[in-house]
């Protein structure tokens, strides 16, 4: 009963908002419809509507999945510095980080669902009802850890918000262990996702032990980027207080992550290019194209250039501590990692293919529309959840405000 009231109260909040809020909702809604029609085409005609073919059998969808796993992981790992440096709004950072993680995991699972040929048969990979290939298949593992991660994060945020809503003290001995547990889980989801690719001896481009560490490092650049933007919006529009120092500190941590990423990548490049075995082909395809086939080069270089500019913006104290330039850096690093995960990581794994043939892949309109649909659905969910969280945490929306309204109604 209590929980139902909490849920109903939350739903009410979602529908109240300013003009800007409604404009944002309408914008997302239009994107969902536009993307949804694209996806409908894929549903009725099959994956032939994408540009994937036998040579490049995984592409943009799985890349988006990978990117979002990174976002989900990094959002929660931000709890560590918040804890270490004892930032004041640590509870809020936990709540918003976990909300982001929940939305990102849901989007991840959506990207898997749109990528498989028979989404209705998804249950075949579950235990008991289906025949889960556990522990053999990395995909089973990945699904498993993602699900656990989703559940624990969902539990923690709901529980925290619920307590605040009812003005109860939350039980530290429940929350703390779970939050602490969610940190290694965040590392786990990302590592297992890296192993998904890493575990394939047939694909030399991915068959490097540095893949998982590079994954984690790049996730640490993109995940906090989203939260930094969110924190700034919250700070402007609500009572949420986060000091400039904390924001700069996060930015500083992102520089370390970028540096580590750069270092790992250079180490990888050195090994490949200096030894110059045939494995170099995939990197060549990514960076320079092979023969006439240069379609992917603009993706990789735009990612590299954006990443490098962002690196310097974050590195130089003057630009890091200036919110305007910092925000430019945030946007740049976000898109740099997005392209890196979405295209640059996946496509060279398949080009040239295992028989040495080149099939040039770039995403089709259907793929872009489907991705737009999932991203806007995810953002919509995140908007709603944040709205509820904001109202409960900062605007004193609680059980009393519900009761008061009932009273007012009665008098009237």
């Amino acid at each position: 009963m209590n929980f139902i009231r909490f849920a109903l109260g939350s739903i009410k909040i979602v529908f109240k908002g300013s003009r800007v809020y409604y404009a944002w909702l309408i914008f997302l809604f239009l994107l969902i419809v536009w993307g949804g029609f694209g996806y409908a085409g894929q549903l009725s005609h099959g994956l032939i509507k994408t540009h994937m073919r036998d040579s490049v059998s995984w592409a943009f969808y799985i890349g988006n999945f990978t990117f979002l796993v990174g976002v989900a992981a990094a959002a929660v790992m931000l709890v560590i510095p918040a804890y270490v440096y004892n930032w004041k709004p640590i509870k809020e950072i936990v709540i918003f980080g976990e909300l982001l993680a929940v939305c990102a995991v849901i989007m991840c699972i959506s990207f898997i669902v749109v990528d498989i040929g028979n989404p209705l048969k998804f249950w075949h990979m579950l235990p008991i009802v289906g025949t889960m290939n556990f522990p053999s298949s990395m995909l089973s593992w990945d699904f498993f850890v993602l699900l656990i991660y989703l559940l624990i994060n969902l539990f923690v945020v709901t529980y925290l918000l619920y307590c605040i809503f009812y003005k109860k003290e939350y039980n530290k001995s429940i929350v703390l262990p779970i939050v602490l547990f969610s940190i290694p889980m965040a590392v786990a989801i990302h590592t297992v996702t890296a192993f998904l690719y890493n575990a394939l001896p047939a694909r030399v481009f991915w068959n490097s032990a540095l893949l998982a560490p590079r994954f984690l490092a790049s996730a640490f650049c993109s995940g906090p980027a989203i939260l930094l933007i969110l924190f700034q919006i919250l700070r402007k529009t609500t009572k949420f207080e986060i000091k400039d120092e904390a924001i700069w500190r996060i930015a500083e941590l992102m520089v370390y992550a970028m540096f580590i990423y750069l270092f790992f990548t250079l180490a990888e490049l050195f090994k490949e290019f200096y030894s110059g075995t045939e494995h170099i082909l995939y990197w060549k395809y990514l960076l320079f194209g092979l023969g006439e086939n240069k379609e992917i080069v603009v993706y990789s270089w735009s990612s590299i250039i954006m990443g490098v500019i962002a690196f310097f913006i974050f590195l130089i104290p003057r630009t890091r501590k200036n919110l305007f330039t910092l925000n430019i850096g945030i946007v740049l690093i976000y898109f740099s990692v997005y392209i890196e995960k979405g295209i640059a990581l996946i496509i060279p794994g398949f080009t040239p293919d295992v028989l040495g043939q080149i099939y040039v892949y770039t995403p089709s309109m259907t793929e872009i529309r489907t991705a737009a649909m999932i991203f806007s659905l995810g953002f919509l969910l995140f908007t709603f959840l944040s709205k509820i969280a904001i109202a409960i945490i900062f605007d004193n929306y609680n059980i009393d405000s519900l009761k008061q309204k009932v009273k007012i109604k009665k008098i009237a």
């Binding site: 036998d54 990528d115 298949s137 394939l200 047939a202 040495g356």
Partner: protein
């Protein structure tokens, strides 16, 4: 075991009934039945028989011909192996089309289980410099040799290891098969296979009715739907009846040899023992049962 099964199906029915009712409302019960069907390996003999009867009726309705669908299991003491004589192959692609024909592969979108690579004599077996789309007036071309590749029927297959649903597995006679009803189309196996042997039905497959082969095997050449993976099965519908795969029969130069690796009298054993054979990408430890050799 019995108990286990009934518990499984109970939970399954409970949890899926609502969902599937929603998903398939408007479809007939046959479709629902098919939707709820279990992994082929877990079906009892009785269930298999029923499913096969339904399939035959369905195909008859769809194509207007009589079909025979077999679910014949592996024969004891057989392990199928294959050998291909690189010195004879002329790259005519007759095997490719015989395979398409025998195994009801989609004509559009086009699926070819066998890919013939044209290689340069000077480079040896070098995939990076090979060409799949060679198209001269006449084969063979000077300075080139040809390397047909299909599923290598690995003893240590990557494809079955990674499949999240156990929809693909190795049969006791060594043939790696796919349950087209159980495959969810995640294509992890395609990423894992080092030989490009697995093919996906990106769109609804089409085969002209008059060209549709009617002697079918459940794990082999029966019609597929869009969204599932398929691959060479050594013509399981023929091999288990004691016949050669179609590609072996059609090859005009006799480059293709097939037989039981466990039979000391077989031609395939003779080749293994008396010719020097090679396998592709041996460094990946896939241990193929598909060998290449130089006969002359």
């Amino acid at each position: 075991m019995e108990k286990e099964n009934s518990r499984r199906s109970f939970i399954k029915n409970m949890s899926l009934a609502t969902f599937s009712a929603l998903a398939l409302s408007g479809c007939d019960t046959k479709a629902l039945d098919e939707f709820l069907q279990e992994n082929f390996k877990e079906l009892s003999k009785k269930e298999k028989d029923r499913i096969i009867k339904n399939l035959e009726a369905k195909y008859k309705k769809q194509y207007g011909k009589d079909f025979h669908v077999s679910a014949k299991p592996a024969i004891d003491r057989t392990l199928f192996g294959y050998a291909l004589d690189l010195s004879r192959c002329i790259g005519c692609r007759k095997c490719v089309y015989a395979c398409v024909d025998e195994n009801n592969q989609s004509r559009d979108p086009q699926i070819h289980w066998i890919q013939v690579l044209q290689m340069e004599n000077e480079k040896g077996i070098d995939f990076a410099h090979s060409n799949i789309h060679y198209n001269p007036e006449e084969v063979p071309e000077d300075g080139h040799f040809y390397l047909p590749v299909a599923c290598q029927q690995c003893r240590n297959p990557q494809c079955t290891t990674v499949c999240p649903t156990k929809a693909t597995w190795t049969e006791p006679d060594g043939i790696v098969v796919v349950d087209y009803n159980w495959c969810i189309g995640c294509r992890y196996c395609m990423a894992a296979c080092p030989y490009g042997a697995r093919h996906f039905n990106w769109g609804e497959p089409t085969v002209p009715t008059e060209e549709m082969k009617t002697e079918l095997h459940y794990l082999g050449n029966r019609p597929r739907k869009k969204g599932v993976v398929e691959k060479c099965t050594f013509c399981i519908q023929r091999a288990r009846e004691g016949k050669y795969p179609s590609c072996v029969e059609v090859c005009p130069v006799g480059a293709r040899k097939f037989g039981n690796l466990l039979d000391p009298e077989s031609e395939i054993r003779y080749i293994l023992e008396n010719k020097r054979v090679l396998i592709l990408k041996e460094e990946l430890n896939t241990q193929p049962k598909f060998y290449y050799f130089f006969g002359i």
